[in-house]
Subunit: 282 residues, 2 copies
């Protein structure tokens, strides 16, 4: 699956719509994973916030126009909860992948209760505890990025350590944004290697520490993008730092993984499995 | 739907499994939106990285154990792509919501091609252009947080403006992380209001500017959490700043929205619809 600009696509590329009464993020995330299974190119159009009959009719018009212009019916991933809205979209000329209808009805039967048919989680979400935790976690992770602050480490759920540019910052932010996990991060620097010890402020939180490493070759590549030709980016220096950092993590009994070929989502998922922060179950 | 700690849940709460050959984020995101439709409490267990037969059998054992302990079958949201893995899970005692099988087969027929049955997007994702853009965007958004840098604003996709604590930072990071959008953000401060003009470095990028506002009451609440009793957090000061910021945005013809009751996902989706950054279609 590849999504591209309209102009770069062959005329035969199929159009995919993501239709939602909220942001459309669920429809899009799910649609992408299904379409990834096909070695084809798609053109995508998102239609979020379709929460009134008028907007549903307007969306239906757009879909029908595209169907006519393309000469083939578009694929429609929808997460419309209200039946009166989804039935408007179902009348369009398209292939309907209705995520709610397909799974909610059998679940009603299984659970022995009717669904509430509210509109997603999008309303009142801002007042929910879960949302507040996420925003607080983002602020925490920003304030504790790159060893900036030793304050409140007691309330950190996880403390990432690793050499500069091993992926700590994006991983911390992702943990905060996606899961409301308060993730501090600390760089391991040459001073630490010379002393042969972790930064001393971290010892009391050792059970929350998780390490990220990376191959020296990839690290040198990344550092060269920032500071081309520097000692910092030189392969010998990267080899030294990575080797020292890995030895230190082994010596201190810190769990760690190599981020070299892992996405931030994969790193975050692994950390959650290992650290098992109190407030959630995995 | 509420997810809680095992101990806090009534014995009758149903267990939900998210089973995936990758991170399980798609299964979880989708499962949450479906389960939100039910006014019940669930216990969740995520089983990520189930990518071998051994791991599938191990997962199946866990699910069956929970089914026996709960005295009722768990609900299983799965995104296992490989048929030999999903068929192991399908034999468990559970209610199966197989996201891939349900939608991939009809799509094969519609598109006239067989699916590739690769494992999600999880492999090689790190080498993809899309992933590199996301990481670059996160670094850009961090470097251009809170008006820190005027450099490279030419390459910004969007520049958020608004008073301090109106939601610019989490929104910028979300745009970067989710969509690879390079989002700079600039605070509007009393100096700007006295001059009655936007920060001068922003004028040449006016078409990329988007404003966030907020009610003075909510702003005062948020600021009081940080600096209780300060002039900064006082309701009169918040009223002054919000009023000046909104007048400025109107005068300058800047599009803006109120973030008061909107989640960062909703704000980001609205901004994408308005700004329509070149590289993507919405």
């Amino acid at each position: 699956m590849t999504f591209e600009q309209r102009s770069a696509l062959p005329a035969s590329a199929r159009t995919v719509f993501f239709v939602s009464d909220g942001t459309g993020i669920t429809a899009e995330t799910f649609g992408h994973s299904v379409l990834t299974q096909f070695d084809l190119r798609f053109r995508q159009i998102r239609l979020p916030f379709i929460d009134t009959l008028d907007k549903a009719h307007e969306a239906a018009r757009k879909i029908n126009e595209v169907a006519a212009a393309d000469g083939q019916r578009p694929i429609i991933f929808s997460t419309l909860v209200k039946t009166e809205l989804s039935s408007v979209i179902r009348q369009c000329n398209g292939m309907h992948m209705d995520l709610i209808q397909t799974f909610v009805a059998p679940l009603e039967q299984e659970l022995g209760v009717k669904s509430t048919h509210t509109i997603g989680r999008s309303h009142n979400i801002v007042d929910s505890e879960e949302y507040k935790n996420r925003i607080e976690a983002i602020n925490f992770s920003l304030a504790h990025d790159d060893g900036q602050s030793h304050k409140n480490l007691t309330s950190a759920d996880v403390i990432l350590v690793g050499v500069s540019r091993s992926g700590k910052t994006p991983t911390s932010l992702y943990l905060a944004m996606q899961y409301g996990i308060k993730a501090a991060n600390y760089p391991l620097i040459p001073d630490d290697f010379e002393r042969g010890k972790l930064p001393s402020s971290l010892y009391e939180y050792k059970s929350k520490i998780f390490g990220l490493s990376i191959t020296p070759e990839r690290l040198s590549e990344i550092r060269n993008e920032r500071r081309a030709g520097s000692k910092y980016a030189a392969i010998e220096n990267c080899r030294y730092e990575v080797n020292e950092a890995e030895m230190m993590m082994k010596r201190e009994g810190i769990r760690w993984l190599s981020s070299t070929t892992k996405s931030i989502e994969e790193i975050a998922t692994t950390i959650l499995q290992e650290i098992k922060p109190d407030r959630r179950e995995y």
